[in-house]
């Protein structure tokens, strides 16, 4: 089932939490709302679920308009950030509560319970109480509870934020596989950009109640539309400047580091901008479109990468990643080096 949002707005007394958001989420898509805390992503999800009223605009599931309907009439499945498992009910009680409300026959309930628990690998834990389960298991019970009703839409509100780092990666993979298998339209809220990139078919990056960019993960990472998106997703170097020349394929930007060649963004010649270039695209070999001299100020060894902070004569700090530190001798602080990056990896962005 596809979801359509038209100019959806939510106002609180002093702020507008969600400000005229329009989105088209395709049938079977895993769609992520990504943004810092307070950006309105959870409020938007709660409006889709029906827990928050829509002040302006409309929400459609397929052709059915759902805003104004109570949550229980929307046929959604929701997984809450704190799981919201009912502590006085067993796993069986939690998972089958919705089925019992629908007065399904006992045999059907038992069948769906077994199938639901099998899907999330919890078979055998039917009689445990939530307090007797690990965090990862609780998370799966919450998922099973949402799925046994065969919902049209699955809504996930930061479902992994309460898990340990290792378990998080594992459950993340399980959610993705399950969602693929069921082909259920899913809206996923997170502030973790790595989670968003690895899981999603498409990502909407939000800020202050507005959607900044909607695109596939690779596009969001490599072709951000503005500085905010480039900064929030991954790590970036931002070099302020003024566009000097601009053609279809190239831009020439006047910066404190000298003239930089970059891909043109949405900034016309003569306009103020920032040039964004990711640390992994900067090398220390000193042979590319753009060359910058600097000194090592800090070296941080992270195992799979080595990150240098280079300080240039103009005072700009440039982060540089060495992707294969096994083959690289760590340079001492103060060593003069030359960094370089290709014009195709530098992008001109509006400074907002």
């Amino acid at each position: 089932m596809n979801i359509t949002l038209r100019d959806v707005t939510k106002r609180f007394t002093t702020t507008t939490a969600v400000d005229g958001v329009s989105l088209d989420i395709a049938d079977g898509e895993l769609f992520t709302l990504l943004g810092p805390s307070g950006c309105g992503k959870t409020t938007l999800l709660r409006m889709i679920a029906g827990f928050a009223a829509v002040d302006d605009g409309a929400i459609f599931f397929g052709t059915r308009r759902v805003d104004g309907m109570p949550p229980y009439a929307r046929n959604i499945g929701m997984v809450f950030q704190n799981y919201a498992l009912w502590p006085h009910m067993t796993v069986r009680g939690n998972v089958t509560y919705g089925l019992r409300l629908r007065k399904l026959p006992a045999a059907e309930i038992a069948r769906r319970l077994a199938a639901g628990l099998a899907k999330v690998n919890l078979t055998g834990l039917e009689d445990r109480y939530p307090g007797q389960l690990s965090g990862g298991q609780q998370q799966r019970v919450a998922l099973a509870r949402a799925l046994v009703l065969n919902p049209d839409i699955l809504l996930l509100d930061e479902p992994l934020s309460n898990l340990d780092a290792k378990i998080r990666v594992q459950v993340r993979g399980e959610i993705r596989a399950l969602q693929h298998e069921l082909g259920i339209t899913t809206v996923y809220v997170t502030h973790d950009q790595e989670e968003a990139l690895s899981l999603s078919d498409r990502v909407a990056v939000m800020r202050d109640g507005r959607v900044q960019q909607v695109a596939a993960p690779k596009t969001v990472y490599e072709r951000p539309v503005n500085r905010f998106v480039a900064d929030f997703v991954g790590t970036n170097n931002f070099i302020p400047g003024v566009v000097k020349e601009r053609t279809e394929a190239h831009a020439l930007v006047d910066t404190p580091l000298g003239l930089i060649r970059a891909r043109p963004g949405g900034v016309a010649a003569g306009g103020a901008c920032v040039v964004a270039v990711r640390p992994e695209n900067v090398t220390l070999h000193g042979a590319a479109d753009n060359v910058v001299d600097g000194r090592v100020r800090l070296a941080a060894y992270l195992g799979n990468t080595l990150r240098y902070d280079l300080e240039t004569a103009a005072g700009v700090v440039l982060k540089v990643d060495v992707g294969d530190p096994w083959q690289h001798e760590v340079l001492p602080v103060g060593r003069a080096v030359t960094a370089a990056f290709a014009a195709s990896t530098a992008i001109v962005l509006r400074d907002d």
Binding site: G50, Y72, R102
Partner: protein
């Protein structure tokens, strides 16, 4: 989506819209009823007392009454005495209460658990019964004086209890657990790292206690101290039994019940208005103070108890034993008097008999029957009004929500004496259709009890509602439960414990209520406390004691049940 499905959906949505049409009216009606109840049975009577205090017999507004009050040296002295007594009791209960709380929470010594339970005992006996017991043991012809005369040849009995010092003693021994419970609760909320941090910068033992630990317990402590003050300030039964008349509450009672002199009656009204004003002023001041000093942080670990060295442990045990023994004296006195005959000029009764119990239970069962009937009805009212009220405060942003919260706290502060007087004035008008005033219908007693004890039910329910995250209800809604269904299946199973504890507290304290009920009770409506007061004033101390024993027994059972259900954490109930 198929056409059929779309049509079906639209039909469902239509049905839903119709249902929400009248369903939406139900909550609004409920809120209106709660407001109406509080307006009629709390705000209107209080307003009436203030109107009376500032008007004359013809209903004209005037300041004469207030001028007369201020101009009367006797009333001025009564006000002064009441304030001194209230503050004095706060000081004595604080010294005892804080010391006991610190010992129980922070130190390990033999018998610590037992003393923890014993601390609750003074609260089991209603103040009226406690003071009775005191007079039997510590009175001029009581056990202690007789023994002193027999053994030491004491010429004249020592006056232990009659007078302000006796009132102070009685109130202190009855009320110190309120401080103890609140401070224990507050100590449990202090994150151990705060004290460890103090220690790491060099603040040891006493320094740390004074600079860190005690200041952090102020919010809990202030709440307890406020209740101690208001309780002492508005108690008239204890002083009257101990022969002290020059206190505000006692004057209010005497002036109101004499029914002869209109001028004195009017003075009683002025005094009760003044008591309300003072109580509210102290409440607001305390709230301000607590609001700016709310340090509570939920800590998951506790400060480890220190084992006391043998000498210190002996000191702690001696101190606690002495306090508990003193607090136990009233029980001994009441128990002996309830079965003892010929107890005069002897240290202990000469004969023992069940006659007095027979008189108050078998011959006149009305005391027990009335007490249970009125308190039971009061609790039903508390539940009907209090649980939705708690839900409104905890879960909604309805306009007036803060005011409901404020009114609920106000009830805790308003003296029962003032409420009783207010009801006499406010409901002495004939009701339409019935042709009699509400004051001549016994239903007024359950109503006044419900109003007085509402805060306990509300607080118990509110606290447990806060512990149920809203997402649990939302999860129920997401799998198809309507609001009422999710309340029944999810919310109620998780909060009933807190609601029950609050209701039991309401019930227990309703049974003990003396002040408001004494004003409103008519012949045939007597509850146990009313009976105790009436018997004692009429000189039948033994019957009073027998009723006292019954009241203590019932209360003790309630306390045991509450402890079982709540698991010992009852301190928050008084905050």
């Amino acid at each position: 989506m198929t056409i059929e499905r779309a049509v079906a959906d639209t039909a469902t949505a239509g049905a839903m819209a119709r249902r929400t049409g009248w369903r939406a009216a139900v909550p609004a009606l409920g809120v209106a009823l709660i407001w109406a109840f509080l307006a009629v049975f709390l705000l209107y009577p209080l307003a009436r007392v203030f109107y009376d205090a500032f008007s004359d017999e013809a209903g004209r507004l005037t300041l004469d009454n207030v001028v007369a009050f201020v101009g009367d040296a006797f009333y001025r002295r009564s006000l002064w005495n009441s304030l001194v007594l209230g503050l004095g009791t706060v000081v004595t209960t604080s010294a005892l209460g804080v010391a006991i709380a610190l010992l129980l929470v922070r130190y390990e010594f033999p018998g610590r658990d037992v003393f923890g339970y014993l601390t609750l005992i003074p609260m089991i006996s209603p103040p009226l019964v406690g003071v009775l017991g005191f007079t039997f043991i510590m009175g001029k012809a009581g056990t202690v004086n007789i023994l002193l005369e027999d053994w030491l040849g004491l010429a004249r009995p020592i006056n232990f209890v009659y007078g302000l010092h006796g009132v102070l003693l009685g109130e202190t021994l009855h009320l110190f657990p309120m401080i103890t419970l609140n401070v224990i609760d507050a100590l449990g909320r202090i994150d151990p790292s705060l004290e460890e941090a103090a220690e790491s910068v060099g603040a040891r033992t006493w320094r740390r206690l004074a600079a860190i630990t005690l200041p952090l317990t102020t919010p809990g402590y202030v709440a307890g101290a406020l209740l101690v003050f208001i309780w002492t300030f508005s108690d008239f039964a204890t002083p009257l039994i101990l022969g002290v008349h020059d206190l505000l509450a006692a004057q209010a009672y005497l002036n109101i019940v004499q029914f002869v002199d209109r001028r004195l009656f009017r003075m009683g009204l002025v005094i009760s208005a003044l008591m309300v004003v003072l109580a509210v002023v102290f409440l607001v001041a305390a709230r301000r103070y607590v609001a700016i000093k709310d340090y509570s942080s939920l800590s998951y670990s506790r400060v480890a108890r220190r084992r006391l060295r043998p000498l210190a442990a002996a000191g702690a045990i001696t101190f606690l034993s002495a306090v508990m023994l003193a607090a136990f004296v009233p029980y001994l006195g009441v128990a002996l008097a309830s079965v003892g005959r010929g107890w005069s000029m002897t240290p202990f009764p000469v004969h023992y008999t069940g006659l007095f119990f027979e008189r108050v239970i078998v011959e006149t069962p009305k005391y027990v029957v009335n007490s249970f009937l009125y308190s039971g009805l009061a609790v039903v009212l508390c539940l009907v009004i209090g649980v939705p009220l708690a839900w409104i405060i905890a879960r909604t942003r309805l306009p007036g929500r803060d005011m409901l919260d404020g009114l609920n706290t106000l009830i805790l502060a308003v003296p029962g004496t003032a409420i009783g007087i207010a009801y006499i004035r406010a409901f002495h008008v004939e009701l339409p259709w019935l042709g009699v005033p509400l004051t001549s219908l016994w239903i007024i007693l359950p109503i006044v009890l419900a109003v007085r004890r509402l805060p306990y039910t509300v607080r118990g329910s509110y606290a447990s509602l806060l512990l149920v995250p809203r997402s649990l209800e939302e999860a129920a809604a997401s799998v198809g439960a309507t609001g009422a269904r999710s309340f029944r299946d999810v919310t109620l199973p998780l909060v009933w414990r807190g609601v029950l504890v609050g209701s039991l507290f309401s019930f227990m304290t309703s049974l003990q209520e003396a002040s408001a009920v004494l004003f409103l009770s008519l012949g045939g409506w007597e509850t146990i406390p009313v009976g105790i007061f009436a018997f004692y004033i009429a000189g039948s101390a033994n019957e009073a004691a027998a009723l006292g024993v019954i009241l203590i027994a019932v209360t003790a059972v309630s306390v045991v049940v509450i402890n079982r259900v709540a698991g010992a954490r009852v301190g928050g109930m008084f905050g």
